[in-house]
């Protein structure tokens, strides 16, 4: 008890953050249990995603400086609760509404940029999602339905902070207020649940489905290209890390937009990889010392992981999304292949940024590698757990 207390020594976070953390934990539990019945419905893929989010939160707390751990834990629990709620609420309009306070809660944390700058992305996402959903369900001419479909698709892209709704990246910004909060933690929950909500009850007409698919595939390809090139060429390392997320997201968006079983599976695995692998690596990179010594094998293996090669988490995603794209139209596979080949270039750079982790960082890295191996070697088991 003394050791535990010492671990959470002063300064204590505000009572409101403690309360919020407790509320977050309670909401997570309620969502997992499905209480109240009919109000909160967590689909199986989201359950698995939540299970992958918990280690990411744990790592964030683990890597925090000693005095900040309780605060980080509370913030992480709020994040987990938000993720659970966003995935559990069946009504997409209600999800859009709840995105607003979640966006403000994230933006209200101390950070370099102003609250208003940080909340713009989530607010736009909420508006696009909500307005799009409303237009989809309201009677009117065909173009209105297509506009609604566009809104829903763009809402997903905006909530992830993806191209063309990229947020500004500032060096030194705390993780919980940076792009990581959305691109790497909250948005994957929405990405997995959106197809279920859209396809429930055959809401979309063929026209609207085509709009959603085309927008997701088109923007997915754009994000893929932007991420692959940006992560390689951009001057800022923080932006390079953010761009590396765009590659995973690109695969996920294309997989979602193809409306094929393999594509959905690819998106599911990609989001798990974002939460379980890339976000923890990005967190580790923030605390890693500057690389100067000769690379150790563990750091070299990271290059293979970041390039999406086997036996790590990137390989099944690539296999599945290639299969889905080739089934639909083989030319779709060409930008995918180019991005896969280009991913090798930025992997070297990002792995160097991670340096040669030692001590607890090395333990964290080993855990991430293990998670990535599980995702890469036995995706079938995870697909079975997620029902995809």
């Amino acid at each position: 008890m003394t050791a535990l207390r010492a671990w959470f020594r002063d300064p204590r976070p505000g009572w409101w953050l403690l309360l919020a953390g407790a509320a977050g934990a309670a909401m997570t539990l309620l969502c997992l249990l499905g209480r109240p019945p009919g109000t909160l419905l967590l689909p199986p893929p989201s359950r698995v995603l939540l299970a992958f989010s918990a280690p990411a939160v744990a790592l964030m707390v683990w890597l925090a400086p000693r005095g900040d751990r309780l605060e980080r834990l509370c913030a992480g629990l709020v994040g987990l609760g938000s993720q659970a709620v966003l995935a559990s609420v069946p009504d997409l309009l209600a999800v859009a509404v709840l995105l607003v306070p979640v966006g403000f809660a994230v933006a209200a944390r101390p950070g370099r940029r102003s609250l208003s700058a940080r909340v713009r992305g989530p607010a736009l996402a909420a508006a696009l999602l909500g307005l799009g959903w409303a237009l989809l369900r309201s009677p009117g001419p065909a173009w209105l339905g297509r506009l609604g479909a566009l809104g829903v698709a763009l809402g997903l892209v905006a909530v992830g902070g993806l191209v063309p709704y990229l947020q500004e990246v500032e060096d030194g910004e705390p993780a919980e207020t940076s792009y990581l909060a959305w691109t790497g933690f909250l948005a994957p929950a929405l990405a997995l649940v959106l197809p279920f909500r859209l396809l429930q009850g055959h809401l979309l007409t063929p026209d609207e489905g085509m709009v959603v698919g085309a927008v997701l595939v088109g923007l997915g390809a754009l994000n893929l290209a932007w991420g692959a090139v940006g992560a390689w060429r951009t001057a800022s390392l923080a932006e390079a890390w953010r761009d590396s997320f765009l590659v995973d997201w690109g695969f996920a968006l294309i997989g979602l937009g193809l409306f094929e079983r393999d594509g959905l599976a690819a998106a599911y695995l990609a989001m798990l990889a974002v939460l379980g692998v890339r976000t923890p690596l990005a967190l580790l990179a923030r605390t890693a010392p500057a690389a100067g010594t000769s690379p150790r094998p563990l750091a070299l293996v990271l290059v293979v992981l970041l390039a999406g090669a086997a036996p790590f988490s990137g390989f099944p995603v690539r296999l599945l999304v290639l299969r889905a794209a080739t089934e639909l139209a083989w030319p779709l596979a060409i930008p995918l292949l180019m991005a896969m080949a280009l991913a090798a270039a930025h992997a070297l750079r990002l792995a160097r940024a991670l340096g040669s982790p030692r001590g607890r960082d090395a333990i964290g890295l080993a855990v991430v590698l293990a998670v990535s191996l599980v995702l890469g070697l036995v995706p079938g088991i995870l697909r079975g757990l997620g029902g995809i």
Partner: protein
Amino acid sequence: MEAAAAAGAVLAWLGVSLLSLADARRGLALGLVTTALGLALAAAASGRQPSAAAALAAGGAAGSLLRLRDGEPGWGLMRPGSTPRLVAALLVFLAAVLLVGAGLGVPTGVARLGAIAVALLALLRLLTVERRSPALGSGAALALGLGALGGGTGLMAAAVAAVALGTLSGAEAPGPGR
């Protein structure tokens, strides 16, 4: 009912316009409560659950009361540089009319007009504002507007969101940690 819905829509639009033109706490609070009341009236008149509509109104009112706690004192209405916002208020209303289109003939369509206008104008304000308190007010209005587009769940969620946003402090933090 259609008249009530129209009155509610117009009231909501006036409220959000006031909110977008205000920079200080009183103007924001009044704008927010007007928006909430207008949306609740329109929602009730268009056949939504009265309890949910009442919850929306209550949530908006609570949020606006909480907005009075902090932020710049006074009304802050129509300050220099607010002309584009005034123009935007009119344009957004027209855009909302365009989106609703033929649906204007029924109370549901009129209520939707108000909600879309509120959501769009609040979003525009949120995308352009720099200060914390107006941003929080606009966020609450956005949540109310989006919630008013949905059913009971949306209305309840909007009420909760408005209250939650009201609890966040609108005082500007010093230095980089804003």
